[in-house]
Subunit: 173 residues, 2 copies
DNA sequence: GCAATTTATTTTATACTTAAAATAATATGG
DNA sequence: CCATATTATTTTAAGTATAAAATAAATTGC
């Protein structure tokens, strides 16, 4: 009597939540699950098709929108990662010849990171394919679903900013 | 004439998207932004208040729901991270005395990871506080917003599973 | 002008994460 | 039984990430 393989309901982060858990927590776990799922797909595809990584692609994408380049601090803010992280990432991309550092004329502490021609070319090759992956993964959502989701996530983003756990605005009574 | 500090529209991952970008891409960037924002808040708060990390907390949370413990593979699946990652995480938590490994009786390859009394106690201390952070960050959303968001993310999750970039189900014509 | 502060970046130490290879044990099919 | 395949985990190497300290340059307030 072989046990029938049930279509397992996907063991993921949400498994840690029960029906009796608060909606807030279940929502957070589901958000994290979606984000992780997409991230892992994109990461794997970037590696297979372009032999690169998501952080590198992200950095190139940021630079592509900034013709004059960005400082380390700006990159850090936009990519929402630490300063030190950007230093290492930029180092590797410079080694690969995809980005270059240009010392700032006005401020000798900072430099502008920008795409080299090779970096621009690499990004232009990858970005339409990348866009295709994203489109494909969202294929199950209607236009209206996406618009609603976009709008609700906008609300969430605002809410998180306003109620940040760390942001102590403790000086006003 | 001091310049008035405008409420800067937050430079984050979405900065890389333009109005003319496809909705799919903008949605993905916004999703990632929300996820990163919450994650960073929780990580920082866990460090400040409990001197621990998000991955460790996550692992404890998974175990709390599994009284008999979980195998490394089960943990890997539920936390959506690689096998090797779990090995290292579990090692550190064993060092801290919060979890223990029990060799499986039936299968000498595998072991069951479970909470020690100290681990259970630590988790029970942290989890209500953690829940409070999540509630707080979602404070700007109505109950209906949350339900809608939960439902839409469910659709998205399903869509990503069905249209995974890597999952080649190439054997059926 | 100059001390004190702030800002931009890098460095350091540690932790987390992955993919791939290695190890070891179990299951399977003759 | 035994060769083969599969499964569970660990190891390895490289990369990603953080927080905190260090460095260095710019700004500010006398």
């Amino acid at each position: 009597m072989s046990e029938v393989r049930q279509p397992v309901p996907a063991n993921d982060r949400e498994t840690a939540a029960n029906r009796d858990d608060k909606l807030e927590l279940r929502l957070w776990l589901r958000l994290l699950t979606c984000s992780s799922l997409i991230e892992q797909n994109v990461r794997g595809a970037l590696r297979l098709q372009f032999d690169t990584t998501l952080p590198r692609f992200d950095l190139l994408a940021q630079l592509d929108r900034a013709p004059d380049g960005l400082t380390m601090s700006e990159l850090s803010a936009r990519m929402m990662v630490s300063n030190g992280n950007i230093t290492g990432l930029a180092d590797r991309l410079v080694e690969e010849g995809l980005v270059k550092r240009t010392p700032s004329q006005r401020d000798r502490r900072s430099s502008h990171i920008s795409l080299t021609p090779a970096g621009k070319k690499a990004f232009d090759t990858m970005t339409p394919v990348h866009e295709g992956w994203i489109d494909r993964m969202m294929g199950g959502l209607s236009r209206q679903d996406m618009q609603q989701l976009f709008q609700l996530l906008g609300k969430l983003k605002q809410s998180v900013h306003q109620n940040a756990v760390e942001a102590d605005q403790g000086d006003k009574p």
